[in-house]
Each structure stands twice: as structure tokens, then as C-alpha cells.
């Protein structure tokens, strides 16, 4: 039974593979002129602004967030790299801040300050309940706390 199942799985996988190959052949057979070209036009100024896009539409806002994320980068290179690893979380607070501000702008700043308040020894008391513990080969045991959880 097991042997037949194995052979069966081999057959199905080979059939799937053939299917993909044929798909590729089909795509390559279509002349390049008939393929849809990506729209390279700039977004109009009155376009609906999504959460992730708003940074690029307002120049001052864009510069402000760039300034903060740039300063976080400088901190990471000049200061953080010379310090021992003291952050309890994965991603680390500076990485969290960089990601949050890049993604959510002003709201990301609040998220970062919230994270700084949460990064303490007591966080380990609620590990397993609110944070999952993961093992990083370089940094050891850390609490997993992604940005999107606090959006």
C-alpha cells in the first residue's frame, strides 16, 4: 500500500511538473507585443492614498519620516552595534521602530514608544501568553513581537 502511494505521489508530482512546463511554453509562445505592459504612469495627486503609500505623497511628511528612520539607522550602525544585545524582543526595538515608522508614519512613532515601554524584564512573565518565545542562533532566546500585531 505504502509503495503504491509513493509511486502515486511521484506520478502526481511529475504530472504537476509537466503542467508547469507547458504553462511556461504557452507564456513564451505569446508574442511580446501582446503581453500587457506595466503601467508606468505616475499616480495622480488626487489618487486614493493607502496606508503604506501615504509617505510618498506628502513631501514634508516623507522627509520627516525619512529623517527619523535615518536617525534610527545611524543609531543602529554607530551605537547599537557597539553595545551588547540587551533587547528582549525579535525584531529588536530599533528594528521595530524603523519598520513601524516606514510602514505607518506618525502612528509608527507611537508604536515605537509603546514598544520601548514594553521592553523590560517583566515581559518574560507574560511569555507564552502574549509573546511566543523563539530561539535565534545568534541572539539566543527572544520574545517574538512583530510590528503588525500592534497596528
Amino acid at each position: 500500500m505504502k509503495c503504491s502511494i509513493f509511486i502515486c505521489s511521484l506520478l502526481t508530482s511529475s504530472l504537476n511538473l509537466n503542467f508547469y512546463v507547458n504553462q511556461n511554453l504557452l507564456v513564451s509562445a505569446i508574442p511580446a507585443s501582446k503581453l500587457t505592459k506595466p503601467n508606468r504612469k505616475k499616480n495622480p495627486s488626487n489618487a486614493k492614498i493607502g496606508k503604506g503609500e501615504k509617505v510618498s505623497h506628502y513631501p514634508f511628511y516623507f522627509l520627516f519620516t525619512k529623517l527619523i528612520t535615518g536617525s534610527i539607522k545611524v543609531y543602529r550602525v554607530l551605537i547599537s552595534s557597539h553595545q551588547p544585545d540587551v533587547c528582549n524582543f525579535v525584531p529588536s526595538c530599533s528594528h521595530f521602530g524603523y519598520e513601524a515608522i516606514s510602514k505607518y508614519g506618525i502612528k509608527g512613532i507611537l508604536m515605537t514608544f509603546d514598544r520601548l515601554e514594553r521592553c523590560n524584564y517583566f515581559a518574560w512573565f507574560v511569555a507564552g501568553k502574549y509573546y511566543s518565545v523563539i530561539y535565534d542562533s545568534v541572539r539566543g532566546y527572544k520574545l517574538y513581537d512583530p510590528v503588525d500585531r500592534y497596528k
Partner: protein, 221 residues
């Protein structure tokens, strides 16, 4: 030729179940669909298995699309569980009413009631508490350790800002003031977010208990 014969002789439903047990859910669905395509007589069982596989993949909309037309107790119960997973309790109740078995219906109704009666905390109240006293909202959100640190950060930077303003040292006072404001707002934001996470954790814990109770329903036949 022999390989092709073996391929045709193996029951695709059995093979699908084998793939399900191995955790290869996408391939299991392909096998179940193949079984329907070749005219397997046990269509109801296969459709239930497809629904179960989508449930494992957490694609609840697909679960409902597959099982909605079957109108059997098992199918309806799986649909109810899928609604529980998506926190759509009112929709779940509609399908509970369709279940004919009294025991199953009563059990699912009590589960639905228990999910509704969970002691959720209010994120707005947490935000207000933190606005009144930094850290208080976090205590409400079941994070007393974070509350201590939130309070210490906000008060210490606030005290520093006050101290430097009194000394007319604006070079320190302004950054300290900005830090105080950000820690304060961060605390309010964090309290609201932590309360939402508390509610989510509470719901997921109860949901886990319910799903464990109905494991047999979610295993392929």
C-alpha cells in the same frame, strides 16, 4: 503501464487522507477533487474531507463554499466552527439552527453562548485610564510590568522637562518635553493595543478548547 495501473487502482480518497495526515493539504485537495472527477461514489464524504482540508488551511470562506449546499449535520457543524474561527457568532447561530441532531445543536449553542459571554475588556476604557494616569490602562490590559515601566518613563521624563523649564534650560527642556509627550501618547496607544490583544488571546484560548472538543469532526473519514 504498470505504474499507470497502480495510479488508477489506488483509491484517491485514501491517498488524499494520507496526504492530509502528512500535512500536505493542497495536494490532498487535488486528490479529493480528482476522486470527484473520476466519479467516486462517495461524494458526500469527499466534499466533507475537502471542507475539513480547507479548515486546516484556515481558508474559511472556501470551507463554507464547499459545505453550504450539503445541509448535513456534520457539514453545518464544520461551517459553525469556521464562523467561530472568524468571530462571526451571529452567522454561526444561523447554521446552528439548521442542525437536526439535538445534542450537537445544544452543545454548539452553549459554545456560542460561552464565546459571547467571555469577559472582554474595553480598549477605549484602557486608553482613558492611561490618559488619566500613565500605566493604568496597561494594568487594566493585564500587563502590570509594562504599566510600571510606562509610568516610570513618562513621569521621569516629565519631571526632567519640568526641572529644566524651571532652570530656563530650553536645550534640555524641549527634548525632554517632547519625549514625555511621546511616552505619554505611546502609553495610551499601547494600552488600547494591549487590550485588543488581551481580548484576542482570551477568544483564541476558548476557541482552542472548542476545537479540541470537536477534533473528531475535523478529522478526514
Amino acid at each position: 503501464m504498470i505504474l499507470l495501473l497502480i495510479f488508477l487502482l489506488v483509491d484517491p480518497v485514501e491517498f488524499g487522507n494520507y496526504l492530509f495526515e502528512r500535512g500536505e493539504y493542497r495536494d490532498a485537495i487535488i486528490e479529493y477533487r480528482r476522486a470527484i472527477f473520476i466519479g467516486h461514489p462517495d461524494t458526500i464524504r469527499i466534499l466533507l474531507n475537502i471542507g475539513r482540508t480547507y479548515f486546516k488551511l484556515e481558508e474559511y470562506k472556501e470551507v463554507r463554499e464547499t459545505l453550504q449546499k450539503m445541509n448535513s449535520d456534520t457539514a453545518n457543524a464544520i461551517i459553525v466552527l469556521s464562523y467561530f474561527c472568524e468571530k462571526l457568532l451571529d452567522s454561526a447561530k444561523i447554521f446552528i439552527q439548521k442542525i437536526k441532531s439535538k445534542e450537537l445543536k445544544d452543545n454548539l449553542l452553549s459554545e456560542e453562548e460561552s464565546l459571547k459571554k467571555l469577559k472582554y475588556r474595553k480598549p477605549i476604557l484602557a486608553g482613558l485610564l492611561s490618559a488619566i494616569l500613565p500605566g493604568l490602562g496597561r494594568v487594566y490590559a493585564d500587563r502590570p510590568g509594562d504599566a510600571c515601566f510606562g509610568f516610570i518613563f513618562t513621569v521621569s521624563t516629565g519631571f526632567g522637562a519640568y526641572h529644566y523649564f524651571r532652570e530656563n534650560n530650553l536645550y534640555f527642556a524641549i527634548p525632554m518635553g517632547v519625549a514625555t509627550l511621546l511616552f505619554y501618547l505611546g502609553d495610551v496607544y499601547g494600552s488600547v493595543a494591549s487590550t485588543k490583544i488581551y481580548n484576542e488571546t482570551l477568544y483564541n484560548k476558548k476557541l482552542g478548547e472548542i476545537l479540541r472538543a470537536y477534533t473528531e469532526l475535523l478529522e478526514p473519514e
